[in-house]
């Protein structure tokens, strides 16, 4: 069911009002939402009064919030935790449910259209309500133009999955439709009839048409994405290209830490599996003439790619987390897209299809062996 919500000049307030009702009616026990103060942080908010501080549309993503959902609900038993997810966070949520890292029954998802987010440091240094308002004003035409002197996160510039609902795919409990609308006047709510009626909304027959804005934005983004992917794969091509792509990597592993799909607590790169003794290092250096220190730069990135590219949701948190500005996300998303195509798999699309690494078919890849 779809309903139009009149926001009367305050879209955030309208959404926070809905969050409060759901909290008061006991539909959710608490809300995992971005909260604005001097900067932006996510918080698990239980107190109704504190929900006032929630900023549903703040255009920044400190972490991929699916990671926090995993922390809270992985072991179950938490009751319903409500979460406000951007589409890439929603896709990560779907993947983590399938990897048994989020308890699906413990989460109440509110999805939303997204035009883009800023890097946290850019936002923090110029935090002002104007950034949020500027983006909200752009939903009507579906033109994402960053604020003066700033850029959107690279992953956002080439994002094609910017709506919470897709044909035949996973749909959140509640979806906030913004594209094609002026959120200062109205937004569209989509959800189960019981839920919406419980919130006091009626079904609206006359819905504003949003499809054109959505498909035109998707087309422009897809063209840009194709361009960036081709450029990236060209840059990283061959062992020399790969070394040069990662030449400034400082081995901090932030890309892995911030990746929602890299959840393994016993990741090989967190263990001593590939550490050697002093004499082994010396023998290695003698054999090769010299050994790069720290070693295993390419091994790290290629292994991570092998482990998670099939489920990469292209949220770009790896790029945002990189202290030396390597666009890790573009490479992983570009390769990921090719690998996912082998299995006709779109990460985050559906809760039903198993991730490619979790199943096999007897009659596939028969030419390989």
């Amino acid at each position: 069911m779809k309903s139009v919500v009149r926001t009367q000049g305050d879209p955030s307030g309208a959404v926070v009002g809905i969050l409060k009702s759901l909290l008061n009616e006991g539909v959710v026990k608490a809300w995992l939402v971005p909260v604005s103060g001097s900067s932006v942080a996510y918080a698990l908010v239980r107190d109704e009064g504190l929900l006032e501080k929630a900023s549903p549309f703040v255009p920044v993503m400190p972490i991929n919030i699916a990671r926090a959902l995993s922390v809270v609900t992985k072991k179950g038993g938490a009751g319903k935790i409500g979460a406000l997810l951007r589409p890439c966070e929603q896709r990560a949520f779907v993947e983590l449910v399938k990897f048994h890292q989020i308890d699906r029954d413990s989460v109440f998802v509110v999805g939303m259209d997204c035009l883009g987010t800023y890097e946290l440091k850019d936002y923090a240094s110029s935090a002002n309500p104007a950034l949020e308002e500027a983006i909200l004003r752009q939903f009507k035409a579906g033109e994402a133009v960053p604020h003066q002197g700033l850029h959107f996160r690279k992953a956002c510039e080439i994002c094609v999955h910017f709506t919470p609902t897709t044909d035949g795919g996973y749909a959140p409990e509640l979806a906030l439709g913004l594209l094609g609308l002026d959120p200062y006047e109205a937004i569209v709510l989509e959800g189960e009839p019981d839920l919406l009626k419980g919130l006091g909304f009626e079904e609206d027959e006359e819905l504003p048409s949003r499809l054109e804005v959505i498909s035109s934005l998707r087309e422009r983004r897809a063209a840009k994405r194709k361009e960036v992917f081709a450029e990236t794969l060209e840059k990283a091509r061959g062992i020399e290209g790969l070394h040069s792509y990662f030449s400034t990597c400082i081995r901090c592993h932030n890309c892995m830490v911030n990746c929602p799909i890299c959840y393994c607590p016993d990741c090989v790169f967190r263990t001593e599996t590939f550490e050697r003794t002093a004499s082994q290092y010396l023998a290695w250096a003698e054999r090769k003439g010299a050994v790069p220190m720290l070693p295993d730069l390419i091994l790290f990135h290629l292994t991570r790619m092998n482990h998670m590219a099939t489920s990469c949701v292209a949220c770009g948190m790896c790029t945002s987390a990189c202290p030396v500005g390597i666009d890790v996300g573009a490479l992983f998303a570009a390769v990921g897209e090719k690998v996912q195509a082998l299995f006709n798999y779109v990460p985050g699309y559906s809760l039903e299809e198993l991730p490619p690494v979790a199943e096999f078919k007897e009659d596939e890849f028969v030419d390989l062996g």
Binding site: L242, P292, L302, V335, V357, E362, G369
Partner: protein
């Protein structure tokens, strides 16, 4: 001096390793370019070991296990096949010569097939030349 490729072979205990053993006990000749690592199952092979072998100097990797349907653990070889498909696709997209990774099904009774596979692979890699992945770049 002719280039002698170095192959690292990851062989499953139940089929390919026994096949290699049979090649030996049957005195079937095959080139000594392969270094064998025995696994309990190809399904237990993480791609990290294939990548590491390449980065440390291997010119080719042979992964060999039971024929489809014959896995000692029912379906480990199917899982391996999918993992190798992913690995090869990644290597291909990055221009890293995915044709240096071979997956072959060799049963415990196929000593001749094991020897033939190694021979074939050595010839293929000789024609191809040394792997570019092994050279550390500063």
């Amino acid at each position: 001096m002719e280039f002698e490729p170095r192959i690292v072979g990851f062989l499953c205990n139940w089929c390919a390793y026994s096949g290699a053993d049979l090649a030996g006990t049957s005195r079937i000749q095959y080139p000594p370019n392969i270094r064998v690592i025995r696994l309990m199952c190809t399904g237990a092979l993480d791609p990290i070991y294939v990548l590491r072998a390449f980065l440390e100097g291997a010119d080719g990797i042979l992964i060999a296990g039971c024929h489809p349907g014959d896995c000692h653990y029912l379906n480990g070889n199917y899982k391996a096949r999918r993992r190798i498909a992913i690995l090869k696709e990644i290597l291909k997209e990055l221009g890293l010569e995915e044709d240096r990774v071979w997956l072959r099904w060799i049963s415990a009774s196929e000593g001749q097939r094991f020897a033939d596979t190694v021979k074939e692979m050595v010839e293929y890699l000789k024609a191809k030349g040394p792997s570019p992945l092994k050279n550390p770049i500063f």
